[in-house]
């Protein structure tokens, strides 16, 4: 039998990230074994590490379990509609370019219903950081197939296995024009935190895919115990910065590539607007 931890005294020791959390909203909705919380705390640690004042940040999310992050972070934060975080965030960025805009959402939100917005924001090199919690499934709605679900995997809407192939997200991001592209798992917390920090400071469209377990809705149906998923993250991944995104499919049998795929300089959408439209209109 395990013992419960001792109750905290009257003045519980604060958590180092408390200043970035709406503590009055805790407990959060995430299930035990879920990876979203780890991505969220990496994101908060990264924000802190940039030493940029908190009120220069804003977080925008769509709808889903991952998207609930916007409700827990203590900066101006927006929980919008399913798939529409990126265009909402684009409006913020273009109206007030000095803000650091972070989009935090799920794979279904960003790549199924919101896929069109993703490719266009990447094409424009909209200066924002997009963090995608990829749990290979629709978590919030109870485990339906996503655009990232592996072929043959069981979900509530693919009871015989997924007949479709998943997206390779780093390749999609790169091909669409993203200027920073990385992938980590929730087991690689330090790398992930550093990557988010780097992505925030990067000028341009930054995309970080984070592989995260959903033991309730994905693991349970695919004979993957919570620990099995973490073992895959440790044993069946290859860290290789600068790898070709074309070979970045999520295929644990072959090995899943992690690291920074792309880090390039390209003019951002707001810079280009300033240079092309505002200056020319003065003539």
């Amino acid at each position: 039998m395990t013992k419960n931890p001792k109750p905290l005294g009257k003045n519980p020791v604060g958590h180092p990230l408390d200043d970035l959390i709406r503590t009055e909203r805790i407990p959060h909705i995430w299930c035990s074994g879920c990876g979203i919380g780890t991505v969220f705390s990496s994101c908060l640690s990264a924000i802190k590490a940039t030493e940029i004042p908190y009120n220069e940040f804003t977080m925008v999310s769509g709808i889903g379990c991952s998207a609930r992050a916007a409700g827990y972070i203590k900066v101006d934060s927006f929980h919008t509609t399913h798939g529409r975080a990126i265009p909402f965030a684009s409006g913020i960025k273009m109206a007030k370019p000095d803000l650091n805009v972070i989009v935090f959402s799920g794979d279904g939100d960003l790549f199924a219903i919101g896929g069109n917005h993703f490719i266009h924001a990447a094409r424009r090199n909209m200066d924002m950081t997009v963090i995608c919690v990829n749990n290979l499934i629709y978590g919030m709605t109870g485990g339906q197939v996503a655009a990232t679900t592996p072929a043959n995997a069981k979900t509530t809407t693919t009871p015989f296995g997924n007949p479709d192939a998943p997206f390779n997200l780093p390749l999609l991001a790169y091909a669409s024009g993203a200027s920073y592209v990385a992938r980590w798992t929730i087991l690689h917390v330090r790398d992930l935190t550093n990557a988010i920090n780097e992505a925030i400071r990067h000028r341009g469209f930054s995309f970080i895919e984070v592989l995260a377990p959903c033991p309730i809705n994905y693991g349970r149906r695919n004979k993957e115990k919570p620990l099995d998923t973490l073992k895959l993250y440790r044993e069946n991944t290859i860290i290789k910065n600068g790898a070709d995104p074309a070979i970045a499919d999520v295929d644990f049998d072959r090995g899943v590539i992690l690291g920074t795929f792309i880090n390039r300089d390209r003019s951002t959408c707001d810079d280009m607007y300033e240079a092309t439209c505002r200056r020319n209109s003065e003539d």
Binding site: N55, G71, S77, H79, T80, P87, G91, A95
Partner: protein
């Protein structure tokens, strides 16, 4: 930078007048997707906004367009989009987000005939009920209907003023004819244009509640970066803005969203009257159909009928009291609109059997000829 208000007398289209009205009102962000017959609003905004330090962006679709203007609004700027039928349909979900999060913004709908792709280049007024409740759930918003390019200029300014004052998306329900016709538009001196801006919070930031209503029922609204750490969600939320999954908060939220409109009807509802003093037959009309109505009044008067016109500038919220009161003292009410009965049924509801109600409608595509109205008058009323 160039001046936002281009004072002078012009010959311009309704679409361009909407754009000039927006810029005169202080609009600094416009996100849209091209669609006939609203494209010229976007084209003019693209040219004008950089002049005044604003931002134009052509988004990838209308869903993105409305999402972008909501996001921009929270940075503290006034924002707008413009569209027509198919694009208006795509905007519905995020229109609801705007209502639920009490985000000020303006949406111009230069109506064409539907359903579906319909008659893309021809007029219609078939989106009036969609304007009322096209997004899911129950709510109130404000919709105005210009009937000339000059109106387009002023009504767009009015739309911004109402949206800022009441923290609500405001729809400008123009139509293809008003949008594309060129007429004289007088743009006054900047100092003659009265502008409203959203109520701003005062007092301690840590005690601030995002949806705590002010005296007129509208909560002050901070902008991103001001240190209020707001959380904005389309989930049912409490006064702090935090998700609250219970029926009591749902009731509170709806009471606020609906109340701020319903309790300020006198300020929000704008109407105009023509020859109403002795009228016993009243034409109710809005937008381009007002012009059909005005001619019909003159023609019917020549035949000895005492006809007047009651014009809705604000269509939503509906001037229920006023229609009820008019119905109590006249023989009949005739609604003219380019659809087969939308606002007409509202008139019927508010007349409440006190007067006959008739519709002069059309399936769309062109303005309704005044003769149709006069024929109806001759058919059913005695002079």
């Amino acid at each position: 930078m160039k001046p936002a208000v281009r004072t002078g007398s012009y010959y311009m289209t309704g679409d361009v007048a909407c754009a000039e009205g927006a810029i005169a009102a202080g609009c600094l962000f416009f996100g849209a997707y091209p669609i006939t017959p609203a494209t010229e609003v976007a084209e003019h905004m693209a040219e004008r906004l950089p002049d005044v330090g604003g931002t134009f962006i052509q988004m990838e679709d209308e869903i993105a367009a409305i999402a972008s203007i909501l996001g921009a609004a929270w940075t503290g700027v006034k924002s707008m989009t413009a569209t027509s039928g198919p694009g208006f349909s795509l905007m519905m979900e995020n229109l609801g987000l705007g209502v639920c999060t009490e985000t000020p913004c303006v949406i111009i709908n230069v109506q064409r005939t539907g359903p579906s792709t319909g008659l893309p280049t021809q007029t219609g007024q078939g989106d009036m009920m969609q304007a009322r409740w096209g997004s899911h759930g129950d709510y109130e918003l404000i919709a105005l209907a210009p009937s000339s390019p000059q109106d387009c200029f002023y009504h767009t300014i009015l739309a911004f003023n109402l949206s800022e004052k009441y923290r609500v998306p405001v729809l400008v329900m123009a139509d293809e004819i008003v949008g594309h016709m060129s007429e004289k538009v007088v743009i006054p001196d900047a100092k003659e244009i009265k502008l409203e801006s959203r109520p701003k919070p005062k007092g301690r930031k840590d005690r601030f509640k995002l949806y705590e209503p002010g005296p007129n029922g509208v909560a002050p609204m901070p902008s991103i970066g001001e240190g209020y750490n707001v959380h904005v969600t389309g989930l049912t939320h409490d006064e702090r803005g935090y998700p609250a999954m219970d029926t009591e908060e749902q009731e509170n939220m709806l009471a606020r969203i609906k109340g701020k409109i319903r309790n300020n009807l006198d300020d929000i509802i704008h109407t105009e009257e023509y020859m109403m003093d002795d009228a016993d037959i009243v034409i109710v009309s809005y937008g381009i159909s007002t012009r059909t109505g005005l001619t019909a009044v003159d023609e019917a008067r020549k035949l000895g009928y005492k006809v007047g016109l009651f014009r809705l500038i604000t269509v939503w919220p509906f001037p229920e009291q006023k229609i009820h009161e008019i119905a109590s003292r006249v023989k009949g009410l005739i609604t003219i609109e380019i659809n087969l009965g939308q606002v007409h049924y509202e008139v019927e509801r508010c007349a409440h059997g006190q007067a006959e109600t008739h519709l002069v409608g059309s399936a769309g595509g062109k303005i309704i000829h005044p003769d149709k109205v006069v024929s109806l008058i001759k058919e059913v009323f005695q002079p």
